[in-house]
Amino acid sequence: MAYSEKVIDHYQNPKNVGTLDKSAKNVGTGLVGAPECGDVMRLQIEVDDAGKITDAKFKTFGCGSAIASSSLATEWLKGKSVDEALKIDNMDIVEELNLPPVKIHCSVLAEDAIKAAINDYRVKNGLEAIKFDESVVH
């Protein structure tokens, strides 16, 4: 299977690889996937007092599309408010990266990682975790 140029670019030059201090109150961490399934994504956001995402980092174990999906997600997250971030849909990632059907689950994982990071942040800051509908494509 040939990869799209955008996937290759993110794979070769991933944006925002790294680790934020997960114990910090203004950092939300989402860890999704499982090693047995061949992909694990960890996505972290750093949020300022105004509720704006000032930094985002990821580390991903997975195929090129999984790496690209999480790299793209961190790019999109930076500068957004937490509420705006919740609107990121996995299909936006599919479209941007031209993911083939067999790789759609990579984008779902990225969306799940965003939601998990936001919930982690919310819980840490005394807010209720948002209940999301179960992802369909897994």
């Binding site: 794979y11 499982a34 047995e36 061949g38 580390k59 991903t60 174990f61 997975g62």
Partner: protein, 405 residues
């Protein structure tokens, strides 16, 4: 001079040897006859060429030329052997013994046998990829008609103890079939010394053309017969109808001859490169060889690089190096390699594996390039891997509750 791209997927198929192509060429245009045409020179030429190829093929495996049934490849050979024995020996019994690490062409054929009323025992393998001979013997029943165990595994290169298997089979009057697709032409295989009754193999895994292979069917001690699976003109002693693929057979014959003559020299060179590749890659932390290193084909190694995913790894260099992975993502199924899982490997390690198949045309320069490219990519991806970070932080990954996915 380094030649790119590098082909290290010789278990999938091999580049044809130019000497093979040269032998085949006249049989497309000049000598195009049907080997079954008995009444004119075109047919005679074709028949003569096929006879000669049959001798070349037989000689490589220590068989009599009359014991070679030409097929379209090993998948057909596997089907013909298993289904053909099942039908031919129906009065004796309906039980077949095989192993969980067989090729799909054997496993799916066995599943078909189960559907039509047969019984199949699937032997487990140990961490080395080898079956237990005591378990094999214990699995034999009065109704057992066939033991189908591959000679060497296509993913990990593990070589099964065929001689010991056939000794047990003989003791109980059971036939032995071996899918020797990966072994013939690569290591010495002798149907008499090994006690093999039926054996499937194919041209394209040994520098010959695709679409042509053979099924060895023993004619003496015991005389083995298989029921044809295709009806037609009764070619190949009635066991495989269909006009013979003369150019393909000529190429297959030539490929067998070259393997017989070059095997020793090729293996010395190739196993040295394989060992070097393996030694260097194992210098990376958390890298493990899958399957037996002792009982193994000389040109194969299968290595898991923990905490990086196989397809992601391949992407780092697959423009220049052709390899395959046991990772799910490289196939449509999303399940990691069942062979690696049968060794007892966790799914995570199965997802992290690369299969290297060196060949006649692999060079030292290519191996050096491969070592460097893979080492760099593994290190780069580990920097990006959350699992690697956790491992380095001393977190036991098995204690984490992963979200079902």
């Amino acid at each position: 001079m380094l030649k790119l791209p590098i082909y290290l997927d010789n278990n999938a198929t091999t580049q044809m040897d130019p000497r093979v192509l040269e032998a085949m060429t006249p049989y497309f245009l000049e000598h195009f006859g049907n080997a079954a045409s008995r009444n004119h020179p075109f047919g005679w030429e074709a028949e003569e060429a096929v006879d000669y190829a049959r001798e070349q093929v037989a000689k490589l495996i220590g068989a009599d030329p009359k014991e070679i049934i030409f097929t379209s490849g090993a998948t057909e050979g596997d089907n013909l052997a298993i289904k053909g024995v099942y039908e031919m020996y129906a009065q004796k019994g309906n039980h077949i013994i095989t192993a969980t690490t067989e090729h799909k062409a054997v496993l799916d054929t066995c599943k078909h046998i189960e559907k039509i009323g047969g019984e199949v025992t699937y032997l487990q393998v140990n961490a080395e990829g080898l079956i237990d001979l005591k378990e094999l013997e214990a699995a034999i029943r009065p109704t057992t008609i066939l033991i189908a165990i591959m000679y060497a595994n296509n993913e990990i290169g593990t070589v099964m103890p065929i001689k010991e298997i056939s000794a047990i089979a003989k003791k109980h009057g059971v036939l032995v079939f071996t899918d020797a697709t990966q072994a013939v032409g690569k290591i010495p295989v002798d149907v008499n010394k090994d006690g093999i009754d039926l054996m499937a193999f194919t041209g394209h895994k040994m520098y010959g053309p695709k679409g042509v292979g053979a099924l060895y069917v023993r004619r003496k001690n015991p005389r083995v017969k298989v029921t044809a699976q295709m009806d037609g003109g009764g070619h190949e002693r009635g066991m495989r109808s269909g006009t013979l693929n003369v150019p393909g057979i000529v190429g297959f014959g030539k490929a067998c001859e070259l393997c017989r003559l070059d095997m020793e020299e090729d293996n010395k060179r190739i196993s040295k490169m394989r060992d070097h590749l393996e030694t260097e890659l194992l210098k990376l932390e958390e890298a493990y060889v899958n399957g037996s290193r002792e009982h193994r084909l000389p040109h194969v190694t299968n290595i898991s690089f923990k905490h990086v995913e196989g397809e992601g790894l391949l992407m780092g260099f697959n423009k220049n190096i052709a390899l395959s992975s046991g990772s799910a993502c490289t196939s449509a199924s999303l399940e990691p390699s069942y062979v690696l899982k049968a060794l007892g490997l966790g799914d995570d390690l199965a997802h992290s594996s690369l299969r290297f198949g060196l060949g006649r045309f692999t060079t030292d320069e290519q191996i050096e390039y491969t070592i460097k490219a893979i080492s760099e990519t593994v290190l780069k991806l580990r920097e990006m891997s959350p699992l690697w970070e956790m491992y380095k932080d001393g977190i036991d990954l098995s204690t984490i509750e992963w979200a079902a996915h």
